[in-house]
């Protein structure tokens, strides 16, 4: 364990933890966009900037900085506050349509951006390039279907050559994790259309009720699950119904075999 202070409060953290975790443990909230506890730290949005005041002053991104014994961290140092505000001001200028960014900026006292509007072709931009979708796809799902393309202002996320991805399993984790709702996914009939990735996957139909409920490319998961395939081939509603039926049957069986039913 290492001991450090956050805004003067002592905090004990395990070795390997980050400053952001220490700040959160101290009950202080910092805005973040590219951070997710389940994914590797990335340090791109630069929103979680804090000031280290001991042993020497340094403005750092708390999500990637490891805790050290004796560090003193100030979250409200003027440099840190300015850095957070300017980052939000620039993101507000990039994505003026994003409610999430507007709210985040307002929380830090930023309501307008002096940076001007985005160019017309990017007027409805919602992506802040936090990279959560890229990392969740690679690290958590293991598909690595999307990645960054281009550099500087041309940087964006996409599938290779912007065409239908063979690697995408249509799980939708990217859309789920996206903080600004920039990823468009729609289920239409037996298709799941991942508009943002120019990719469409087939949906699996429930053999019981016929409803479409899971992307076909995820069916390999069935082999990895403990129960027999027929259970997992069902949609969640049918699966629940089946489970309930079994419970009822088992209960009846139990009741019939024991004339005097005792519940323990």
């Amino acid at each position: 364990m290492v001991e450090l202070t956050v805004n003067g409060c002592p905090v004990r953290m395990p070795v390997g933890a980050t400053l952001l975790e220490a700040v959160q443990a101290a009950g202080v909230e910092l805005p973040t966009l590219c951070y997710h506890p389940g994914l590797s730290p990335y340090g791109a949005c630069r929103l979680c900037m804090v000031m280290i005041t001991r042993p020497r002053r340094a403005l750092v991104a708390s999500c990637t900085y490891p805790v050290e014994d004796g560090l003193a961290v100030e979250t409200e140092a003027p440099e840190a506050v300015t850095a957070r505000r300017l980052a939000l001001e620039s993101l507000l200028s990039r994505c003026p349509q994003s409610d999430v960014i507007r709210e985040m900026a307002a929380n830090e006292g930023v309501t307008t951006s002096r940076f001007g509007a985005p160019p017309p072709e990017r007027a409805d931009e919602l992506c802040v390039l936090c990279g959560l979708c890229v990392r969740v796809c690679r690290e958590a799902i293991g598909a690595a279907a999307i990645s960054f393309i281009g550099r500087g202002m041309e940087r964006r996320v996409g599938t290779p050559f912007d065409v239908q991805s063979d690697a995408c399993i249509g799980c939708g984790a990217c859309a789920e994790i996206c903080p600004t709702g920039a990823i468009q996914i729609e289920d239409r009939g037996n298709k799941r259309i991942l508009h943002t990735w120019n990719t469409t996957v087939e949906l699996h139909a429930c053999p019981e009720c016929g409803c479409f409920f899971a992307p076909e490319p995820t069916s390999f998961l069935m082999d990895m699950l403990p129960e027999a395939e027929e259970v997992w081939a069902l949609c969640p509603a049918c699966r629940r119904r089946l489970a309930a039926q079994r419970w009822v049957e088992q209960g009846r069986l139990l009741f019939e075999t024991r004339s005097n039913y005792e519940c323990e």
Binding site: E79, L86, S90, L91, L129, R151
Partner: protein
């Protein structure tokens, strides 16, 4: 032949010595990229054909760069018994005359730049020696010690100049002693950061985990800088030798030379050098009979400026996108494939081989306390002498610009110098008394960087300069972190407004805020230094910004939107040259009568201004 022992090295060196100093006439042509760009290839071909035609008994070789790039193509003629002369700005025509003269046993004086003094050769009357030329007088060559003097890929010649003496010595020492020697020399990273090389090596050596790796960073991308290119093109073995020494010191058996693909000649020469070193056993298993193995691979960079940043470079070697990652952990602990890695610049490696050959004390005596050794700068811009300059650390900017550089070009006053490439800062003439060292330059708002030095004169608009460099860093930003991606773009937009005469005083305030933010909050070193051109020009040339936004005036007369071209009728002789030059037909007037420019058509391209034989066209600021 395989080299196993020191005596094998000596016999290899003897072969090289005979090649460098043959008993017959030898003509060397500088054919690094600078020479080739100046037409060295045609000169070489002419020399070859003419020598054949005359039946001249002569050795013709292509060498690397001597540093004085402005006067390329350079031809070095060595005539045993007569002397040795360096000819400058040689054209095929001059080459023909030269061979004709040489055929009569004469060393012509025409076109001669200097004599190269050499033991056993008589001195030549009336010619300065090379070291006396102002351009060379203050230089001290360590990194560029062989550059231009040997055939770059001839291992024998490198060995003849003392090459591989450093490795031979290192392999006789325990590895820790090699690290200590480098630490004691005071060598600091020549890629720009200036981190003590010995300390980096020690960290890597002490780091748990194996294997370890050595990387040579040759991804030089600064506009106007070509030091690393020259070293790789002109003396590749000095770098490879340094890497083997580093590998031995930290316990690595594999090294990578990362060169950008825009340097085809450097890639070619370093690749050749690697295979030649493998051939004789100076790379591979059991080097010099020491039992130490080391292999080198050449990796070509695909041309992203950001790959010069060490973590991005490592990602690129691994096959990933060239993007920096946060540090710590530093590469010395977790580098290539997550293993301890020493990554140093080309010039650092070339210094290492010299340090091990001559000892730490020798190196320490060069330069000043805390900043020992030499640095290479590419001195370019509005300065009389341009080229590659290697100087001991601690010499002043004044010595650099006025003594070596010869001051402003065409007698113009030098206004500022930009050190450290696109992410360096612009220092004003009143600070030219400052010594060139890592700390002083950083304190003054610039950086040592990898060694670009761009001189600017009175005709340079500092706002325009800041915008030029911002354009570069904006285009080259990888886009990963918000401050660098968004910040450089907004700074560029503001600077564009200012040079177009649309700027406001609030713009300057916002510009300064964004620049300070990017410097403090960007993820990697490149982002953190990207605002330096803005911050340093705001610090030293704020009056120029103010003139742009408050008076709508560009004091240097550069920004097109803020100047007007006017023909002074009392000077105009009505020759009509300006009228012919004008691409938009904005100039009218009768023959032999004063002409006039229509400001509504004029695009301020200045072609008329540059063409007017009478200097009658004035730039109204």
């Amino acid at each position: 032949m395989r080299v196993h022992t020191r005596s094998d090295l000596e016999s290899l060196g003897a072969v090289g010595l005979a090649a460098i100093y043959p008993s017959r006439l030898k003509v060397s042509v500088g054919m690094a990229t600078c020479g080739l760009a100046a037409g060295a290839e045609a000169v070489y071909r002419t020399l070859h054909d003419e020598a054949l035609a005359y039946g001249l008994d002569m050795t013709l070789v292509s060498t690397g760069c001597l540093g004085y790039c402005q006067v390329e193509p350079l031809v070095d003629v060595r005539m045993p018994g007569r002397g040795r002369v360096l000819y400058a700005r040689v054209t095929p025509e001059r080459a023909r005359e030269l061979i004709a003269a040489l055929a009569t046993g004469e060393l012509p004086a025409e076109g001669a730049l200097a004599t190269i003094p050499e033991e056993g050769l008589p001195p030549l009357e009336g010619l300065p020696s090379l070291e006396e030329l102002p351009f060379y007088a203050k230089q001290h060559k360590v990194i560029l010690r062989n550059s231009g003097w040997i055939a770059p890929t001839k291992l024998e010649e490198y060995v003849a100049q003392g090459g591989y003496g450093g490795l031979a010595r290192a392999l006789e020492l325990p590895p820790q002693a090699v690290v200590d020697e480098v630490t004691r020399s005071g060598l600091r990273g020549r890629g720009g950061g200036g981190f003590p090389t010995g300390r980096k090596w020690q960290t890597c050596r002490d780091a748990p985990g194996a294997p370890r790796y050595i990387i040579c960073n040759g991804d030089e991308g600064d506009p106007g800088a070509y030091m690393d290119r020259t070293v790789l093109e002109s003396d590749p073995y000095s770098v490879i030798e340094g890497m083997v020494i580093g590998g031995y010191a930290v316990g690595a058996h594999e090294g990578y030379v990362y060169v950008r693909d825009e340097y085809p000649l450097a890639v070619e020469r370093v690749t050749q050098a690697v295979s030649r070193a493998e051939e004789v056993g100076l790379l591979g298993k059991n080097i010099l009979g020491s039992g130490f193995d080391f292999a080198v691979r050449v990796v070509r960079g695909a041309g992203a400026f950001v790959c010069g940043e060490e973590t991005a470079l490592i990602a690129s070697i691994e096959g990933g996108m060239g993007e920096p990652r946060p540090k710590p952990p530093y590469p010395a602990l977790q580098g290539l494939w997550g293993c301890p890695t020493v990554i140093n610049n080309v010039k650092t490696w070339a210094s290492v081989s010299a340090i091990l050959a001559h000892g730490a004390d020798w190196y320490q005596a060069i330069g000043v306390e805390g900043n020992t050794g030499t640095v290479v700068f590419s001195l370019v811009g509005k300065v009389a002498n341009t080229g590659l300059v290697e100087v001991p650390l601690g010499i002043t900017l004044h010595e650099m610009i006025y003594e070596i550089g010869g001051g402003g070009r065409d007698g113009k006053a030098v206004k500022a110098v930009q050190t450290g490439g696109p992410s360096g800062g612009c220092l004003p003439a009143r600070l030219f008394h400052l010594p060139i060292d890592y700390e002083t330059l950083t304190e003054a708002g610039s950086i040592m960087g990898s060694g670009g030095m761009v001189v600017m004169d009175e005709d340079t608009c500092m706002v325009d300069v800041a915008r030029y460099f911002l354009r570069f860093t904006m285009d080259e930003s990888c886009g990963k972190c918000t401050p660098c991606r968004e910040g450089t773009r907004h700074m560029y937009r503001i600077l564009t407004r200012i040079v177009e005469g649309q700027g406001t005083p609030e713009d300057i305030v916002l510009l300064e805020q964004i620049a300070t933010w990017v410097k403090g909050a960007a993820l990697c070193g490149l982002g953190q230094t990207a605002p330096n051109p803005v911050l340093s020009t705001l610090r030293y040339f704020r009056d120029e910004y103010e003139a742009h936004v408050r008076e709508r005036r560009c004091p240097a007369g550069v920004c097109r939107a803020l100047i007007q071209l006017v023909i002074r009728s009392e000077l105009c002789i009505g020759c009509g040259i300006c009228k012919r030059e004008c691409p938009v037909g904005a100039i009218s007037g009768q023959n032999k009568k004063p002409h006039v420019i229509d400001p509504s058509l004029c695009t301020r391209c200045r072609l008329c201004h540059d063409a007017c034989p009478e200097g009658a066209i004035e730039i109204v600021r």
